[in-house]
């Protein structure tokens, strides 16, 4: 099997490498790919959408429809991970470990034992695998996380002018929460950003995107044609496109953030949502 695979792979690879001879050279500005369609975007992109970053304007406007489904892919992946992994009740649950905070005594409560309340301040739940106190990590993260989040917001908002946009910003926002979950523990992250929030926020994010498109439809223009939003936003058509891009980028950020966090919750706890990494 392996040999067969190797032979097949080498043959295919050889064919493809051989074919590269017919390609335009790397970096050739006169290749058909670089002269036909892209010229329009580069020459008209800024005038059409008032966004100097042409990638953003193509992403969110010219090919905004693709991006809507790109967001939907993330949303679908989040739903899929939840659907596949999430378990509400674990059959034959493992013992849980609690620390009595005033005394520092740790308790091991076997399956079926009486458990302290979820939000009890006296008893704090610990991960089953012992993790030593991580004072430095915790405090560093506590300091760094707000900056990550501010940077993420900047990335989202500044997507018109510089690399970045809703997707990257959303991932950064998610990363900040994930960092919190890793440096502290999963339960506390979930208490701050619950599963339900993630689910609803993900829906909301895609809904912002698709809803903006549908709103254009209601205004009489084609789907996702932000020009139609001009009367609502009180700006001219080009600025309306620019604002439209921002709105959908925010939607993307919402969806991506929520979904990546949700996927992380499910993957890191194998669907139990009690103990993370």
């Amino acid at each position: 099997m392996r040999l067969l695979a190797l032979i097949a792979v080498i043959l295919t690879g050889g064919l493809i490498i051989f074919q590269t001879g017919a390609f335009p050279d790397f970096g050739d500005a006169n290749a058909p790919a670089n002269t036909y369609l892209s010229t329009y975007y580069l020459e008209h992109g800024q005038a059409d959408t008032h966004a100097p970053n042409i990638v953003t304007s193509v992403l969110a406007d010219y090919r905004g429809y693709d991006t809507m489904f790109e967001t939907t892919v993330v949303f679908a992946a989040g739903l899929a991970c939840f659907f596949l992994l999430r378990r509400k009740k674990v059959p034959g649950g493992e013992p849980r470990i609690y620390r009595h905070m005033p005394t520092g005594i740790t308790l091991r409560i076997a399956d079926g034992g009486k458990l302290p309340a979820e939000d009890s301040e006296v008893f704090r739940r610990l991960d089953t695998e012992f993790v030593p106190q991580q004072l430095i990590i915790k405090n560093t993260c506590r300091i760094v996380i707000p900056f990550i989040q501010i940077f993420a917001l900047y990335v989202i908002a500044h997507g018109h002018y510089s690399p970045g946009g809703g997707f990257q910003g959303g991932v950064l926002l998610a990363a900040s929460i994930i960092l919190y979950a890793i440096s502290h523990d999963l339960r506390r992250a979930i208490r701050r950003f619950s599963e339900k929030t993630a689910a609803l926020m993900g829906s909301l994010g895609v809904l912002i995107y698709a809803g903006t498109g549908a709103l254009c439809l209601l205004m009489g223009a084609n789907f996702l044609n932000y020009k139609a939003l001009a009367p609502l936003l009180g700006v001219d058509a080009v600025m309306a496109r620019s604002h439209g891009i921002l709105i959908v980028e925010i939607g993307v950020a919402f969806a991506v953030m929520a979904m990546i966090i949700w996927i992380y919750y499910n993957l890191s706890s194998a669907g139990k949502h009690d103990e993370g990494l």
Partner: protein, 80 residues
């Protein structure tokens, strides 16, 4: 003189094969993270800053975390 992008691409190949060759899944995940990061550098050099940014956040960041999370819940051992 070797152009820097060619050098990085060579490194990408090495780390890619390395990620598949290492007989420890956690190690593979980390090498894979390096692969992603090197790839993101290559793209940045080629002028694809948006793609590079995304790859840095997603490939080197989130993907690795997912991988580590999955390995954490399964096993590190592997036969190949």
């Amino acid at each position: 003189m070797i152009p820097i992008d060619l050098a990085i691409l060579t490194l990408v190949t090495i780390s890619g094969i390395g990620a598949l060759a290492i007989k420890d899944l956690l190690g593979a995940a980390i090498v894979f993270s390096a692969y992603s990061f090197l790839m993101c550098l290559a793209w940045a050099i080629m002028g694809a800053v948006d793609v590079a940014f995304t790859e840095a956040a997603v490939g080197a960041g989130v993907s690795t975390i997912f991988c580590v999370a999955a390995v954490f819940h399964t096993t590190r051992r592997t036969k190949d």
